[in-house]
Amino acid sequence: MDRKNVSRIARKYNVYSGKLLGVLEDIQKEERYLSEETLKNVADVLDVPLTRVYSVATFYSFFNLVPVGKHIITVCMGTACHVKGAYRILEVLQDLLGVRPGETTKDGKFMPTTHDKKFTVSTARCFGACSMTPVVMIDGKIYGYVNAKNIPLILKEYGWGEKNEN
């Protein structure tokens, strides 16, 4: 994101507390990941050292430093989901999408993306939907009570299994 747009976002924050994280989150909401250029511009606009911006961006699991696929599938690995077999859900997803288990991206995070750049698989710890475990979130939408049988149906809603549109 260029300087001008970073400034536009930064202006929304009239108090300094929580500003850096807030700005990074807002940018990620628009661009889906934080590029090197973005981090530099954020450091510049907010007048904080680039090292600080970088350490913050890598410390918090919420930020992606590499581009992601069109749809982000996040598997909940929270305790309530774990006891209901979240690991198996992750495995089924990896299997269906053909991404390698345990594959990590350059920033060391577990976020494999499919070859057609349609899906990125990631994990999180609890969406607060623990009464309908196991839970998967796709692009912000929560799916409860998922299992090996209904996952393919859910994926189809997002164009899984179709020929590449490009």
């Binding site: 929580g18 930020f63 305790t79 006891v83 475990t133």
Partner: protein, 425 residues
Amino acid sequence: MICNADEGDPGAYMNRNEMESDPHMVIEGMIIGAYAIGANEGYIYIRAEYPLAIERLDRAISDARAYGLLGNNILGTDFSFDIHIARGAGAFVCGEETALIASMEGNTGRPRKRPPFPSQKGLWGKPTNINNVETWCNVASIIKNGADWFTRIGTEKSKGTKVFSLVGKVKRTGLVEVPLGTPVKTIVYDIGGGATDNKKVKAVQTGGPSGGCIPDSLFDTQVDYEHLADAGSIMGSGGIVVMDEDTCMVDTAKYFLEFAVEESCGKCTPCREGTYQMHRILEKITEGKGTNEDIVLLEKLANIIKLTALCRLGQTAPNPVLTTLRYFKDEYLAHVEDKRCPARVCRSLINYYIDPAACRGCTICSRNCPVEAIDGKPGYIHIIDQNKCIKCGTCMEVCNFSAIVKLSGESIDTPFAPIPINKGR
């Protein structure tokens, strides 16, 4: 003044509910608190995983401003107070008050030594009062009904009610509010309806990654601060995860240690390196490669980390291990000595077999096995090649005749090659 809405315990969501269904309750509590201590600035630090709660709080704060309940000269008095939202970004340790403050100041969220406590030196070096969402929510009703009303509920030392998030292998999951001092069994059986699928409840885990497991033999334990501590666990934020006979306690301990390894901020050595080593030992045990010495070492490490870590994340991270060792030693021993996982969870220690008496030769399993480990043809009893099987469990999920069994430490007789199903059986 800060409202802690980071709700990091994975498996607990009472704060989310409070903020989404009645955001004004939080705001009202904070206004009263600010008035009492003379604060002018308030923040709600909320985790990014709760977008709806953020949206509703944002709206509620604007509405409160429009009504003159927030901002300068509230209701014409000389008291001024405003609330801002600060978002977290997925780091458990940021729920710890000093880490949370560091995060709000735009730093990586790492805790620091206390004292000085935030009430002495907090956000930007200023005295800061920090409390949980639920605490703030209680304020208005206590003021309205009087302290006597609140303290009548609960026990001698733990007053009032508490909201718990009852989840896991229990029939009725959800949020429950009960007087402190209510026994575990009332919550699990009377309210939760016991385990699903006619299974037996084995334990509950309370307090999240900092807490411990309480076995069913201690379900008379009253849920309050003192009695949970006596049982080796904690109240924490109020998560109660129910575990049944299909939950492996060693695997559970491993799960929490993995969490600790990932969430350790890395500042102090006992937590950063110690939890890593504990996790490695647990991995070894669940893979069936553990020894009795490993169990001794595990316990020793746990006690050292408890005493030497800097913040409570590290100090409490060994709790899941210590409580499972205390109450479920037999499960550890089964893994180590018999190479058996009694709950049939740990993959290295289980095997899938097809029961020749139940197989109908439908071929679904062999068509779905990702590694082609199942041999057979229509009308023939199918057989799993144990050397090829990766123990994913797909076959068991797809078989419509419950012909596939999962065993640990035992096996059943199966033919060496597919044979025709005896139609007369």
